[in-house]
């Protein structure tokens, strides 16, 4: 069970923090250009943060008690592969779901 204090701290903190990030330049900085080194790093936040979060979840799933699971590896590979080939987020998710179910059926 998630602690209610933690939950509200995260909801409100994340809401305020995200709003500040969105308001930062539009509201405060105006149209002065950002330093190039900063925009260069900001460009890679999403493609670095999301894989870093996902990698341990894929390698050691909580649902199997941290045991590496071939069906989940297969599902992850299918999602990423179809996603990169088609650039279609929904198709990628469906492929991952099908691979997870099929893998679980064949290997489980």
């Amino acid at each position: 069970m998630i602690d209610r204090g933690d939950l509200w701290l995260v909801i409100i903190g994340l809401g305020l923090g995200s709003y500040c990030l969105r308001f930062l330049f539009l509201g405060l900085v105006g149209d002065r250009p950002l330093p190039a080194w900063l925009t260069r790093h900001l460009r890679y936040t999403a493609v670095a943060m999301m894989p870093a979060l996902v990698a341990p979840l894929v390698a050691w799933p909580a649902a199997t008690g941290g045991q590496t699971d071939p069906a989940r590896l297969l599902a992850a590979a299918a999602t990423l592969g179809i996603g990169m080939l088609t650039k279609n987020v929904i198709l990628a998710i469906l492929s991952g779901a099908v691979a997870l179910l099929a893998g679980g059926y064949l290997m489980g």
Binding site: L7, L26, R43, M49, L53, A55, P56
Partner: protein
């Protein structure tokens, strides 16, 4: 009497934003379902979506909260996911920066992946549009994306109460994330950033409080930026 042109700019925005419903609907629903499975009630789930209004960061914080990661680390990780909002804010400012403060404050709240993507594309194509036209277009892109995000979250929360807890939804989040990462790997530098972050996250998994993830993401960003700098030369 002809309709004011602002109106048509608004509707152009609505049309430009509408395709994103295909992404907003399933992700909003999924967030509602997962939040309910995690024990959040309707009010908490909906508030989450209205206050934060950022899919990836909401999924991240929900996942980490369930793993009982300390709240400050949860916040830092989710805000790191949202750092790109600052980049959107900077990129949209040349177009909307001349508006009065209340309009800029309002636009900032609605600055999400989809409204940014649709508006930036349009403003690059039509720099001659007036401030009022651009604002109308931006509010148009918001209409089919932001309110549906709340609505589908709510729908998911209702569905979540009906879905049994052990439905294999544990892996929905990794799959959703992988699907979002794939189209974002636009260049070699993006691929390197993702690879470095992945390998480091696995190697640094021993670090307490999920700090390994933050360190791995920072290393991935540095790697991506460095590759871009070298390729530009």
């Amino acid at each position: 009497m002809p309709l004011p042109s602002r109106n048509s700019d608004y509707w152009q925005g609505v049309r430009a934003g509408s395709p994103f419903l295909l992404v907003i609907a399933p992700f909003g629903t999924l967030f509602g379902v997962l939040a309910t499975e995690a024990g959040l009630n309707l009010f908490e789930t909906l508030t989450f979506s209205v206050v934060v209004i950022a899919g990836a960061a909401q999924f991240v914080s929900l996942q980490l909260l369930q793993e009982h990661v300390p709240a400050l680390i949860v916040l830092a990780s989710a805000l790191a996911v949202n750092l790109r909002m600052a980049m959107y804010s900077a990129a949209i400012t040349p177009h909307l920066g001349g508006m009065p403060l209340w309009k800029r404050a309002l636009s900032a709240y609605f600055l999400i992946d989809q409204t940014y993507a649709a508006s930036a594309l349009e403003f690059e194509r039509h720099p001659e549009k007036t401030l009022a036209q651009k604002f109308a277009f931006f509010m148009g892109t918001m209409t089919p994306t932001c309110p549906p995000w709340y609505a589908f979250t709510l729908l998911g929360a209702w569905l979540g109460e009906a879905v049994p807890a052990d439905f294999g939804l544990d892996f929905a989040l990794p799959i959703a994330f992988l699907a979002m990462i794939a189209p974002a790997l636009r260049s070699g530098a993006h691929v390197v950033a993702a690879l470095v972050a992945t390998v480091c996250a696995l190697l640094l998994a021993w670090m307490p409080y999920n700090l390994g993830v933050l360190c791995a993401a920072a290393l991935g960003m540095v790697a991506g930026a460095e590759i871009e700098r070298r390729m530009a030369r």
